[in-house]
């Protein structure tokens, strides 16, 4: 399977085509074609994962494969074994003597992502069968989901950066189609376009980064690039330039500050799509890029030397900025969206501080609990009158127990409560940040942990506790919806075990972390005080938040505080307006370009450039008229015509002399006599 990894993206792609072409006729069963395809992909991915694990174990000489999992023994080898990724490629295009391939590059990271993406996609598609039932474009929706999955899988298995770019852009296209799924409403299509354009702005960076890397390395290949970046002769400045450019791409795609604004708007799409975008596809593509080409960043940003770097800084800022905004949202999906921004910040920060395995681990666990939370929110909305406004929810704990409990698990996992999945991954990020000498980011991470726990408490409280404030009769959702919730809930509980250091399990490090063309990164040992500290912070945050909203149950939200203090009111407004970044982008930049600049350019075009053209044309015409009228008609042709014409004219002129008045004749007579005399006089004298 490692050699045939191309099958994994191909199956959903085929499903896309089949559904697109024949879906209309098949009706509802079209959904199951997509599900079948992605399920097959999932199975293939699992096979690939097992094969990869065996390959690693074979190389390191550890005992056979999965058996190691049960032993619970740390198998550390002092000898550094290199497990080469499995690459396959065929010619895709060529230039000069060089041929460029398209193919697959399978290593630990790839198989991890394959499993996560196919699994989440599978669950989301199953969930969607119920959630999207009766939708106007049911089959189209499943076709798009299949394409979305296929694109993300293409990106994941990409053998070279161009292929990665292709997958990257296709993911953007699919998110565009799915966010704008209900395009009849202008807000939805606007959100879709915003998402597309924002990520595409980031793609300028990605594109240029790829180009810089190509000319630095001499190849688009992922392996070649990483090998070059880890090598001794690497050109640091060019790597830095490439890393900065790629980082711009990550910022755009992974919703990092300051290009995160499209992500909350993307909630306009159907909820399962949000789950897919936030958990497994689209936004994690950025983090995946960071992990895939990690040596470029590691070397370019000099991560090994500690201090502050661009990547960690962006991640750190995004953690706090996203988390703070989550507090002022009424829409439960937007709370989760900002939460995603914040969590992606963790991942990017982890990469920035040298904690590669922690970042990938967090990506892994986050995929499950974030998908769970989104699907849970969808389930809530499905039964609570099709709204996502938390002001119209409340007290849903009793009518929807499964949703409530799974949502609670997801929230706790997100908040980093021991022993759920989120705890392990977040803790590892924090520990490694501290150990690698990034103490400032450790503190940022702890602040983020506090905020995360608090806003999730708020969301859970407003949704499930207190009195029901909405309309209708809430009820538990059907099996197709709760089934995926339960599966994801279980994963949110248990997925952390894969890299639970105290248990002696560091499988991410052992199996996933590349050994081929990878920088030497440290791995901090599990740190009990820090773990206790972070869990403690989260618990305190939950307590504080729960107390606050319990007290203010009859006065929801922060209205009390904002009414008392103008400073708080200003801050609140600042937050509600999302730091005014949207205004900057939409009104100033986009509005400016689309309005003033574009119109000015067009005016320039029509009046100046076209004016010159028309002026030249008109001038030539004038010249032609002049030539024709004066030169040709008057002078050349006129020589003939004009003689006759002049005679005629002269007659007409002379006729005027014939006034019939004697004195006029006399005047002419005497004048003529004078002139003749003068003439005679002059001819005689001179």
């Amino acid at each position: 399977m490692l050699q045939n990894a191309w099958l994994v993206p191909s199956l959903p792609a085929a499903a896309f085509l089949v559904i697109l072409l024949f879906g209309k006729r098949a009706g509802k069963s079209a959904a199951w074609w997509g599900i079948t395809a992605v399920a097959a992909s999932f199975v293939a991915s699992c096979v690939a994962a097992v094969q990869w694990v065996q390959r690693v174990d074979d190389a390191t000489g550890t005992s056979n494969g999965l058996a190691a999992f049960t032993k619970g023994v740390v198998t550390t080898n002092d000898v550094h074994h290199v497990v080469k990724p499995v690459t396959e490629s065929v010619t895709w295009w060529q230039n000069g003597a060089v041929k460029f391939g398209v193919g697959t590059y399978v290593d630990g990271l790839t198989v991890l992502m394959l499993v996560v993406v196919t699994l989440v996609s599978l669950l989301v598609q199953i969930y969607s069968v119920a959630y999207m039932r009766g939708d106007r474009r049911f089959t189209w929706y499943f076709a798009a989901l299949s394409l979305f999955t296929a694109s993300m899988l293409t990106l994941v298995v990409a053998e070279n950066t161009i292929q990665l770019l292709v997958g990257w852009e296709l993911v953007g296209l699919c998110s565009f189609m799915l966010i704008g799924h209900w395009w009849e409403e202008p807000e939805n299509s606007r959100a879709a376009i915003k998402a597309f354009l924002t990520t595409r702005t980031g793609d300028i960076g990605l594109m240029i980064g790829i180009i810089v890397l190509f000319f630095t390395v001499g190849s688009f290949g992922v392996g070649a690039t990483n090998l070059y970046a880890t090598g001794a002769g690497a050109h640091h400045d060019l790597l830095l330039a490439a890393a900065v450019c790629l980082m711009v791409g990550i910022i755009g795609k992974s919703g990092q500050f300051p290009l995160h604004t499209w992500l909350p708007d993307a909630m306009a799409g159907p909820t399962p799509v949000s789950a897919l975008i936030h958990a497994a596809t689209m936004v994690v593509a950025g983090v995946f890029l960071g992990a895939r080409l990690y040596p470029v960043f590691f070397n370019g940003f000099s991560i090994a030397s500690g201090g502050v770097n661009f990547m960690a800084l962006i991640g750190g800022v995004t953690i706090v900025i996203g988390a703070v905004l989550a507090f002022v949202q009424h829409d439960i999906k937007k709370v989760l969206a900002y939460s995603t921004i914040s969590q992606l910040g963790y991942m990017v920060m982890a990469l920035g501080v040298g904690a590669w395995s922690a970042a990938v681990f967090h990506l892994f666990t986050h995929a499950f609990f974030k998908a769970l939370l989104f699907l849970g929110a969808g389930s809530v909305s499905h039964s609570a009158g099709h709204t996502f406004d938390m002001r119209e929810m409340g007290g849903l704990r009793k009518p929807m127990p499964i949703t409530f409990w799974t949502f609670l698990i997801g929230s706790a996992a997100l908040a980093g409560i021991f022993p759920l999945a989120g705890f392990w991954s977040k803790d590892e990020i924090l520990v490694n940040a501290g150990a690698n000498g990034f103490d400032a980011f450790l503190i940022v991470g702890l602040i983020g942990a506090f905020l995360t726990a608090a806003y999730m408490t708020r969301a859970v409280w407003l949704t499930f506790f207190g009195e029901f404030r909405g309309h209708g009769h809430p009820h538990e959702s059907e099996r197709l919806i709760t089934g995926p919730l339960v599966v994801l809930g279980a994963l949110s509980v248990g997925a952390g075990v894969i890299n639970a250091a105290p248990l002696g399990l560091e499988k991410i490090k052992d199996w996933i972390e590349p050994t081929f063309a990878f920088p030497v990164v440290g791995h901090a040992a599990f740190d009990y005080p820090k773990a206790v500290l972070s869990v403690g912070i989260a618990v305190v945050a939950i307590g504080v938040a729960a107390y606050y909203w319990y007290r203010n149950a009859e006065r929801p939200l922060l209205s009390g505080l904002t009414q008392r203090s103008p400073l708080a009111r200003a801050g609140y407004r600042f937050l509600v307006n999302k730091y005014y970044l949207d205004d900057l982008y939409e009104k100033v930049i986009v509005g400016g370009i689309q309005g003033a600049v574009a119109r000015a350019t067009y005016w320039f075009d029509q009046h100046v450039i076209d004016g010159v053209v028309n002026g030249l044309g008109r001038g030539t015409t004038q010249l032609a008229h002049y030539t024709y009228d004066i030169v040709d008609q008057r002078l050349v042709d006129g020589a003939v015509n004009e003689l006759a014409h002049e005679a005629d004219q002269a007659g007409a002129e002379l006729r005027r002399v014939q006034s019939g008045r004697v004195q006029r004749y006399a005047l002419l007579l005497f004048g003529g006599v004078g002139i003749l005399s003068l003439a005679l006089f002059l001819t005689n004298t001179i």
């Binding site: 295009w93 060529q94 296209l173 202008p186 299509s189 376009i193 370009i593 350019t601 067009y602």
Partner: protein, 514 residues
């Protein structure tokens, strides 16, 4: 198959002429017979194209194949010299394909004042000129075909065009004629200055401007530049384009965008660069500058448009900017990108013009403010438009990407150029161009998506709510399907085209050490 090798290109160029003669012989009242004749002629030409495609030796794509070389006008040493290589082949095929598509598309709806006889005759005449230009290997022959194209397009715009057609037609005609006049002067200059006094492109390319002083070369190149740049069109010679497109009938717009614009860029690659290489080195930074200005400028003008067709016309300015940027780098990356970009732009923009024409035909307007909700009312056309929009904005996986990305890529590292712009630091210059061009891709996404949003998304306006609007009908399907398939195929597997163009392109780029 020796006879085919010898006569294929003559057939390719002149089968449409035979078709034209037949069409003219049939009385105008027998419309069906005229249509069938025209279709048969264009398909026959296309079949010759398929034969060439099958018989072409791809492993020697850089060599001229199917050559015919006979004396023609011996007094001025002009020869009937034709041949085809990896650069010309895709364009020739594109031209044949588009003509067939246009004939089929027009099947049941000829623009006013109807008259299928005249219209199809002009299309066939246009095909003679277009095919001939791509295969001519003699400068005079090239010039004859290059100019032959003007006439039918002039009448097509002037007779079957929109309300302001006469202005547009005359502007188009004069503008391009002005350029070709200078081009002809340059051809003559090349003839008299070159050692052997010849019009044969391959001989001239072998000489590579030897014996012509650099200053003279630069001047002669200037003439060629004007002739070709107007045709492309490059900023600031583009103003005829929006008017011509806006007024031209659908099929005219399609052929104009898909093929006629390519004559200019093809001229650069085929004639200007190999024959006058040292002047090309001097000119390249300025061409690059105009190209990136065109990219941004065209995009901004697009954002200000209300008329869908005019928007697409301006988008051509931007897209051809990418092609010209690729050419200006003088590298194999850039030239490959340019060839790919030409074909991709021909397919995609041709499709967009087809769709704009269909929208106009259905709704009677192209004003984007009045349109909307096309996806609800005529979903198939809406989706096809969406597909083409995505292809046009350079989405990877579709053809447009492979014209844009390598062009941007090539700007990172252009060939060795003569000093000029920015104190001669052309490396920095072109890297700035690269970033600007990359920004251009975002603007492209911006204007295309906002067009799509206005036209396809949302709900149908009250004006057309109750109108009975037909979705894509049969002639449209038949005409469009090959184009759509090609857009996808080239996007998924670009080597289809790169393996044709690469060999020929390296011949050119080798001159510049790339």
């Amino acid at each position: 198959m020796q006879w085919f090798d010898d006569s294929a290109l003559t057939l390719a160029a002149f089968i449409p002429l035979v078709g034209l003669a037949l069409v003219l012989l049939i009385p105008g009242a027998k419309e069906q017979a005229i249509k069938v004749t025209a279709l048969v002629a264009s398909v026959a030409a296309a079949l010759v194209g398929v034969g060439i495609l099958a018989d072409f030796d791809y492993s020697h794509a850089g060599r001229l194949q199917f050559t015919i070389d006979k004396p023609w006008i011996s007094v001025i040493k002009a020869r009937y010299h034709m041949g085809i290589d990896g650069i010309a082949l895709p364009l020739l095929i594109l031209s044949m394909l588009m003509v067939v598509a246009c004939v089929i598309y027009s099947w049941n709806h000829f623009p006013e004042p109807h008259s299928p006889k005249g219209f199809l005759a002009l299309i066939l005449l246009l095909e003679v000129g277009m095919n001939g230009t791509f295969i001519a290997q003699d400068l005079i022959l090239f010039f004859v075909f290059f100019e032959l194209v003007l006439l039918p397009m002039f009448f097509m715009i002037g007779v079957w065009g929109g309300p302001n057609r006469q202005y547009a037609a005359i502007k188009f005609f004069l503008f391009t004629l002005f350029g070709s006049a200078l081009m002809l002067v340059s051809f003559l200059a090349i003839f008299f200055l070159s050692k052997h006094q010849t019009f044969q492109m391959n001989e001239l390319a072998q000489l590579g401007g030897a014996g012509i002083a650099h200053g003279t070369q630069v001047l002669v190149f200037g003439g060629l530049f004007l002739g070709f740049a107007i045709k492309v069109p490059m900023f600031p010679f583009h103003t005829w384009l929006p008017d011509a497109h806006t007024e031209a009938p659908t099929v005219g717009s399609v052929l104009l965008a898909a093929i006629l614009l390519k004559l200019g860029t093809y001229g650069f690659i085929r004639i200007a660069l190999p024959i006058l290489p040292s002047a090309a080195r001097t000119w390249a930074p300025y061409i690059g500058l105009l190209a990136v200005i065109g990219i941004i400028y065209g995009a901004l003008c697009c954002l200000a448009q209300r008329d869908m067709k005019r928007l697409i016309a301006f988008s051509s300015v931007a897209h051809m900017g990418f092609v010209m940027l690729g050419i200006a780098t003088l590298t194999s990356f850039g030239l490959n990108a340019a060839v790919f970009g030409m074909v991709a732009h021909g397919l995609i923009t041709g499709m967009l013009f087809f769709i704009a024409g269909s929208v106009q035909e259905r709704y009677g307007t192209r004003e984007m403010r009045r349109l909307g909700g096309m996806l609800t009312q005529i979903p198939r056309l809406g989706w096809i438009l969406g597909f083409c929009v995505m292809a046009s904005l350079g989405l990877p996986g579709l053809a447009g990407f492979w014209g844009e990305f390598p062009a941007i890529l090539s700007a990172y590292s252009p060939a060795r150029l003569a000093p000029g712009l920015l104190n001669g630091d052309h490396l920095l210059t072109f890297r700035i161009f690269m970033v600007v061009a990359a920004i251009g891709t975002v603007l492209a996404a911006g204007y295309l998506l906002s067009m799509y949003q206005r036209v396809a998304f949302g709900s149908v306006g009250a004006e057309f709510e109750s109108a009975h609007v037909h979705d894509v009908h049969v002639p449209e399907w038949v005409a469009w399907t090959p184009l759509l398939l090609l857009i996808t195929a080239l996007g998924v597997y670009p080597n289809l085209l790169f393996h044709m163009s690469n060999g020929a392109v390296t011949n050119v780029s080798r001159i510049f050490g790339g």
